[in-house]
Amino acid sequence: MALDVTEHAKPPRAVFLPWMMGHHFGVPFHRDLQRRVILECLDHLVSAERSGEVRTLPIPWVQARKEGIEIERRLGLRP
């Protein structure tokens, strides 16, 4: 959500997602994206080599949102 806030808090490991507040695991009904965020965190948990490493998931908000809209259309949840 806010990289500068994360950098000030100095967590030992963090994954930064450049997405809207209230969407830290993605968008509604996008199971693959929600899962990918968690798997990215677990991988970082295993592979981080020094405290303070911040990993970034290279998926912009606009892409996540577009994919979510397409999924909702397929599910018949939006026209």
Binding site: L3, V5, H8, G22
Partner: protein
């Protein structure tokens, strides 16, 4: 990916939706933002992920229906936490938090509280299992020292008692 570069040849930085948030808030409410001086030592993983019990900790304000609602309008915040059984169904939970948009979470709770995805990963053996309870509080707390001295310590003690091996902490 939305990226920016300072032109100095360094690695590109991912653009934030809200750049400068820490400075903006701290300027208006001095001392309200967490600002640690040092990094804590990196705790190594002591066993394979497939044997680790995971606890999820969240500022989402998600709580079991019928539990005492978080005080979302107190001027300095609410420093209490709620236990959320990891076996809960999303329809057994509700959100008490005003500081982030909840429209998406009210349609699919997994966008902030990924109960279903975590359970799937446990069922598949990617992780060893889930702690009996997850832990939630609200992210609006204006006294970071009190937050660290009370709420963070209370949750850490509860998590230790439950025997969790790894923690996934997420803001909302």
């Amino acid at each position: 990916m939305t990226e920016t570069s300072d032109g100095g040849g360094g690695p590109p930085r991912v653009a934030q939706l809200r750049p400068g948030l820490w400075d903006t808030v701290n300027e208006r409410y001095p001392g309200s933002m967490i600002d640690k001086a040092d990094f804590v030592p990196l705790a190594p993983l002591r066993k394979p992920l497939s044997e680790c019990r995971l606890v999820f900790i969240s500022t989402s304000g998600v709580q079991p229906k019928g539990s005492m609602p978080f005080d979302t309008v107190h001027p300095v915040g609410d420093y209490s936490f709620r236990r959320v059984p990891s076996a809960s169904r999303p329809d057994e939970l509700e959100i008490h938090q005003l500081k982030y948009p909840t429209a998406s979470a009210n349609r699919d709770l997994n966008v902030i509280f990924p109960l279903d995805r975590l359970r799937e990963l446990a069922d598949e053996g990617v992780i060893g299992g889930l702690a009996e309870n997850f832990y939630t509080f609200i992210g609006y707390n204006m006294d970071p020292e009190r937050l660290e001295r009370t709420l963070a310590e209370d949750i850490a003690a509860a998590v230790s008692e439950e025997g969790a091996d790894i923690a996934l902490a997420a803001p909302a």
